[in-house]
């Protein structure tokens, strides 16, 4: 009897906790981060997967419906989602997640963006005027975003502030330990060179001290033709790059074409959480990124 009452009480206590904060994250890395900081107080939906080009998501009806009920939007910013997020916000009829509200958070506001172009013109391809938005590939940025995300979560759901604080502290501790480990593991990558399909891995290079030797795309967002790829093959003849980096969502064809003619290995990196089977969360994402880079370097 006593056990039953106790169980009932427990159940009642558990009920308010079921009132979770609905969060819509644009890309998987922020979805994973919201799960780390929000714990079981949040209900996260991620608008895209690691197999989708984050520049080119469609404002699908299902996403508009989710934006309608969301209490917090977690976006990358820096123009990454410019082709679809503004439409989601407008069509949602949800004033809590509009620009300037606590329910609207752009991760880019928490970090220092790199490669801000001096001149922006479409003849340069699809350049991001605010800077390179693929900053999730530097783990220090993840921590900066985590702290800023915590502030937004605490504003949207003040009752959970202590829990979020606790989660942030624990996450930061684990993340710091992991960063130390990654930096030791990645020491051998310093000075290594790579080609990349798109300008995806600038932050990774900056963090690990690697060197970007160019892109397969002639201009950002423009498909490489065979003439352009041929000139890349030619340019690699004397001092070839150590590897060609490709994000999981990007096509392998161009990278393989160059690889076959130059012998430079193609390394597929998760790019975000879920990009490879091993990248199940943010820790796995970086563990696997480093493991793949290292195995490419160790191969003769």
């Amino acid at each position: 009897m006593m056990k039953r009452i106790l169980a009932l009480l427990l159940l009642l206590c558990a009920l308010p906790a079921a009132a979770t904060v609905k969060v819509l994250a644009t890309v998987p890395e922020w979805g994973a981060l919201v799960r780390e900081i929000g714990g079981d107080r949040v209900d996260v939906m991620v608008a895209s997967t690691a197999m989708q080009d984050p520049h080119r998501i469609e404002a699908r009806p299902s996403l508009i419906a989710r934006a309608r009920t969301a209490e917090l939007i977690v976006a990358t910013g820096a123009d990454l989602e410019i082709g679809w997020l503004p439409l989601l916000l407008r069509e949602s009829g949800n004033n809590r997640i509009q620009l300037g509200q606590p329910g609207y958070f752009e991760a880019a506001t928490a970090v220092q963006l790199r490669d801000v172009p001096q001149v922006v013109d479409r003849s340069m391809g699809d350049v991001h005027a605010a800077g390179d938005p693929h900053f999730q590939l530097d783990p220090r940025n993840i921590l900066l975003v985590a702290a800023a995300l915590f502030e937004h979560l605490a504003q949207v759901d003040p009752a959970g502030a202590a829990a979020y604080r606790n989660n942030l502290d624990r996450f930061a501790e684990r993340w710091r330990a992991a960063m130390t480990r990654w930096e030791v593991e990645g020491a051998g990558l310093k000075g290594r060179t790579f080609l990349q399909v798109h300008r995806s891995f600038g932050y990774l290079a900056h963090w690990l001290g690697m060197e970007v030797r160019g892109e397969l795309e002639p201009k950002p967002g423009i498909e490489p033709g065979s003439a352009h790829l041929g000139s890349i093959v030619e340019s690699q003849r004397n001092a070839p790059a150590a590897m060609i980096l490709r994000a999981a969502y990007q096509t392998e064809a161009a990278a393989r074409w160059v690889s076959e003619r130059t012998g430079i290995p193609v390394v597929t990196l998760p790019f975000t959480v879920g990009g490879t089977p091993q990248a199940t969360d943010l820790f796995g994402f970086f563990d696997d990124t480093l493991a793949r880079l290292k195995s490419a370097v160790q191969k003769p």
Binding site: D53, P61, A130, L144, Y249
Partner: protein, 464 residues
């Protein structure tokens, strides 16, 4: 630190022309100013990096407090770097307002038919001549401006210029802060009925609109001066309801200049995903318009062209459906789109015919329908191909005693179109389309069109 090095190199590079300094004092002053600017930028950048590094060091450490105020700084300058701005999107270089210009034009080869009509359907006066364009043509040049007006409103205008005529295609403002899924739009708006109606010409997957749009709205789409109220249900499935009222000045109504509303519309949209690769939207819409004296040209039994005016009401029902598929839900490389719309229209009223000075009044009662369906496949990032089939039914048309002896045409206009297009980027497209057009009674027209669409400037996202 790498960034510092880069900045240092930048400063050095800028200092090189300083050799010429004594030759030109003006240049020297400019250079000094420039150097100062760079130094300031460098200081700001470094202080921001320092602040972020400091922040990085404190995250999750006991010293970090809950409030959002920046940590106290010993530096005299306030931190410009604290993430106070709400958005980095389009920050320094974006246009405000968003400005875009669409260049469209085509080369068309088709039969030279005077007064093109869709067999068995009344059409807007002058429409036939608009459609009969051969050879090289610059089509409407669209200028679009859009921006948030303040925290409560957003505005947009689309002006379209053709030859010596400019017209206001759309000009409206909408709410942004209403909440609860509500949205209100006021001004000249493209109605939310159907699927293609809200899309501008540069978004179409074919050179021309389906035949049903031509007969329903006497052109490409239905726009009116009025207001629209939309509500999105708080569900995980997309359910949107809308209502519109307005002046209803366009075909199938006309401008009656009344104090009330001349047109009312209702629409409902439902949509969702199917797994990761597919998504769909279905809609149902209703439009009611009134005409006081809608002008049209009719043919009598004795093959004379007479002009007549319709007075009465039109009711249109439209069912629409669109389905999109992409491998892994990533449409960037390959994707497929299937869409279809079906309509029924009922018109009730009277037709006044002026036949050489004699005025005849007759009844006007029609029940007509039609549909189109089309499929579009993007098979590489640059190439897309599509097929479309249009078919209409003139249905039942009754003119009562028909005192003016108007010829009633019973016909099933149809058209088959196929197209292939190439896009260098999402801003430029060249399209080749071939159509076998049997819309006009007794005419089979094989049409070839080569069309370009070029989009300049900062262009808003397109709807699903």
């Amino acid at each position: 630190m790498r960034i510092k090095q880069v900045v240092a190199i930048l400063v050095c590079t800028l200092s090189v022309p300083a050799l010429a300094e004594d030759q030109n004092t003006l240049l020297a002053a400019e250079l000094a100013a420039l150097r100062e600017q760079v130094a300031q930028m460098k200081a700001m950048y470094e202080s921001r990096i320092a602040a972020l590094e400091e922040k990085l060091a404190t995250i999750g450490k006991p010293g970090m407090t809950n409030d959002t105020a920046p940590p106290p700084q010993t530096a005299s300058q306030p931190m410009p770097s604290e993430p106070s701005q709400a958005s980095t999107t389009g920050k320094p270089a974006a246009f405000n307002p968003e400005t875009s210009l669409i260049l469209q034009g085509a080369y068309t080869s088709r039969k030279d038919v005077e007064g093109i009509s869709v067999g068995g359907f009344a059409q807007r006066k002058g429409q036939g001549d608009d459609d009969n364009k051969r050879g090289f043509n610059v089509n409407e040049t669209e200028l679009m401006l859009a921006a948030n007006i303040d925290p409560y409103w957003r505005g947009q205008a689309t002006l379209s210029v053709l030859n010596s005529e400019a017209s206001v295609e759309e000009a409206w403002f909408q709410t942004t802060a209403l909440g609860n899924g509500m949205g209100i739009k006021v001004g000249r708006i493209l109605s939310g009925i159907g699927y293609l109606n809200e899309q501008h010409a540069h978004q179409w997957d074919f050179y021309d609109q389906p035949l049903m749009y031509k007969v329903l709205f006497g052109g490409d789409s239905y726009a009116q001066d009025g207001m629209q109220l939309k509500w999105l249900a708080p569900l995980d499935t997309f359910v949107e309801l809308g209502v519109e009222i307005g002046r209803g000045q366009n075909f199938p109504g006309d401008d009656r200049n009344i104090s009330g509303t001349n047109s009312q519309a209702l629409f409902a949209h439902v949509g969702d995903d199917i797994g990761i690769s597919s998504s769909w939207r279905a809609g149902f819409s209703w439009l009611h318009t009134r005409a006081g004296a809608r002008e049209g040209t009719f043919e009598t039994m004795s093959q004379d062209n007479v002009s007549g005016t319709f007075n009465g009401r039109s009711r249109v029902w439209i069912a629409d459906f669109v389905y999109k598929w992409a491998p892994d839900g990533n449409p960037a490389r390959r994707n497929f789109k299937l869409q279809a719309e079906y309509f029924r229209r009922a018109e009730n009223g009277t037709l006044a015919v002026d036949d050489g000075g004699n005025l005849y009044n007759s009844l006007w009662r029609t029940r007509q329908s039609g549909y189109y369906f089309q499929g579009l496949y993007q098979f590489t990032p640059n190439w897309r191909a599509g097929l479309r089939y249009d078919r209409l039914s003139s249905g039942s048309q009754s003119l009562g005693d028909n005192p003016a002896d108007i010829e009633i045409i019973n016909y099933h206009p149809s058209r088959f179109s196929t197209m292939i297009d190439y896009s260098w980027s999402e801003f430029s497209r060249l399209r080749l389309q071939w159509s076998r057009d049997r819309a006009m009674l007794g005419v089979t027209d094989n049409q070839i069109t080569l069309q370009y669409i070029m989009s300049l400037g900062s262009h808003g996202a397109h709807k699903f």
